[in-house]
């Protein structure tokens, strides 16, 4: 019994140590004077991390918006309130689904790619090589990817919301016959920029931070074997997803808990 508790304690301490290491890595990577040359690396990473995630975001947003429109219409018509489907779709997306779903997709696509890439660089000694050339791999490799993640995800979340709302419009107005004026009109009355859109964007930034940090740390600290890289990639997706959902609850409670 004592051993069990001791083991539990050891695991907890181990996790704390890992978080500490991750924090140190992040601080070391980010505390640097920005140079002109690092800008082109940032652009490169924005492409890999952001642009290449666009397709999955657009398609997912469209389908989610369409499903929301369909389900919303079905549910609301039981109360004779189909006209409210516009505000239902918009609020659901802007407050919750866009930041959370986009973040989960991002963690799976871009997060795992980042971890695998850095893990592979570690395994093929490219990181050690950079060190031996007198270059800090944290500044050269990790930092641009971090900022790319921080910039890309919020942009993608905004695009996600818009495309989703359009998807809802497609189903509700074009297919199911809701009056277009009501769709947009009710929506505009119900959605507040500060309360809803901005809060959703704040969530996006928080999620972007969590995903980028986790993905980069897992890649940087993995065991440099193929099994190690695979385990690290899995951990990135799992930890990011759990962190997103957990922080989503905390943020939602903070932001929307007051109004009932």
């Amino acid at each position: 019994m004592i051993n069990f508790i001791a083991d539990l304690g050891a695991i907890a301490v181990g996790k704390l140590v890992r978080i500490g290491e991750a924090l140190l890595m992040l601080l070391q990577a980010l505390v640097v004077r920005p140079k002109v040359s690092s800008f082109s690396r940032l652009i490169q990473q924005l492409y890999v991390v952001g642009v290449q995630s666009l397709i999955i975001m657009l398609v997912s947003a469209l389908f989610i918006g369409m499903v929301l429109g369909l389900q919303g219409y079905t549910l609301l018509s039981a109360y004779g309130s189909e006209q409210a489907v516009g505000q239902m779709v918009a609020l659901t997306l802007v407050r919750e689904l866009s930041p959370v779903v986009a973040a989960l997709l991002f963690a799976g696509r871009a997060g795992s790619a980042l971890t695998a890439e850095i893990g592979l660089m570690k395994a093929t000694e490219q990181l050690a090589s950079l060190e031996m050339f007198g270059i800090d791999p944290l500044h050269r490799i990790v930092a641009p990817r971090f900022w790319a993640g921080m910039i890309s995800l919020p942009l993608l979340v905004a695009i996600f919301s818009l495309v989703g709302i359009y998807g809802g419009h497609l189903v509700a107005v074009d297919w199911l016959g809701v009056y277009s004026g009501s769709y947009w009109g009710n929506m505009q009355q119900a959605v507040d920029f500060n309360e809803d859109v901005l809060n959703g964007m704040i969530k996006a930034f928080v999620f972007a931070f969590l995903i980028s940090w986790t993905a980069l740390y897992q890649g940087y600290s993995c065991t440099p074997t193929s099994q190690g890289i695979s385990a690290a990639t899995t951990r990135t997706v799992v930890y990011s997803s759990l962190a997103i959902l957990g922080f989503d609850f905390i943020l939602t409670a903070l932001m929307f808990g007051g109004t009932v």
């Binding site: 490219q126 090589s129 007198g134």
Partner: protein, 269 residues
């Protein structure tokens, strides 16, 4: 205490977990020569290389590089020292997103301020030295293992360092590639007046080009001397390694209880 060589290792101990990789190791690498560090697997050859390069810090003792204790250096000073040294990693470690040309140009861009013309010429000259000038447009993924290693060599010598470390340069190479590498290592050492340190367990190849051999084992230096001296040595540990004997000072069997006790179905007690 006189620091004799370009690298001085004084009384270093290095632990990996509980296991002592080195205990009170002492050796000196002389300038201008090719020194081979050899030993069986697990004797810490690559670890020693990493200690020299400053990637690892010894638990005890000092590593002097160009006469300076590397543990006392700041990051900036360490990086400056590193610019006087080139490293050839076992896997070549070319940057996969850069072309052959860009890989070799990399240290030149980082450490020197050359005009684009001078840079271009330097890269071409270095690639010419390793015989791969025509491959400069290829990407690392398109190169064979041997070619990748030669490009990595060109990159390692690009800024004309004083010291170059080779981590298992002959491992897994076909006989032609090995001969090419041997020729290059020897040639570069003489032509560019380098000090070369190579870690290897290919006895024939390493001994053929080295001036000095350091044999590691059991956490310390087993023997040190010219290849001829080691070949003629009477020390059983040295003999086992140099002549490639399966069993001897370093045992064949991993530690285990007697076989009779472990087999099933026999009457014990």
């Amino acid at each position: 205490m006189m620091l004799e060589g370009i690298i001085d290792i004084r009384n270093i101990s290095f632990y990996r977990g509980d296991r002592a990789v080195f205990k009170n190791l002492n050796c000196t690498i002389a300038a201008g020569k090719i020194t081979a560090i050899m030993g069986p697997s697990g004797s810490g050859k690559t670890t020693l290389l990493r200690l020299i390069g400053g990637q690892l810090k010894p638990s005890q003792g000092q590593v002097y590089l160009f006469g300076q204790d590397i543990a006392l250096l700041s990051r900036k000073q360490l990086n400056h020292l590193r610019s006087r040294m080139g490293v050839l990693f076992q896997s070549g470690a070319l940057f996969t997103d850069l072309s052959v040309f860009e890989n070799v140009a990399f240290p030149l861009r980082e450490h020197l301020n050359l005009s684009s013309e001078d840079l271009y010429n330097q890269v071409l000259l270095k690639l010419e030295a390793v015989g791969l000038r025509g491959a400069r447009g290829l990407m690392p993924a398109q190169l064979s293992g041997g070619m990748a290693r030669r490009v990595a060599l060109a990159r390692a010598v690009a800024i004309e360092p004083e010291l170059i470390l080779y981590d298992e340069p002959f491992a897994g190479q076909d006989p032609i590639a090995m001969a090419v590498l041997q020729r290059l290592i020897k040639h570069l050492n003489t032509q560019m007046r380098l000090t070369s340190v190579l870690v290897s367990h290919d006895i024939a190849e390493a001994c053929a080009i080295s001036d000095q051999v350091i044999l590691l084992g059991e956490g310390r230096v087993l023997a040190q001397g010219s290849p001829a001296e080691l070949q003629a040595s009477d020390d059983p540990a040295v003999k086992q390694f140099i002549h490639g004997e399966a069993d001897g000072v370093i045992p064949f069997h991993f530690a285990a209880p007697p076989l009779q006790e472990e087999l099933k179905g026999l009457n014990h007690d």
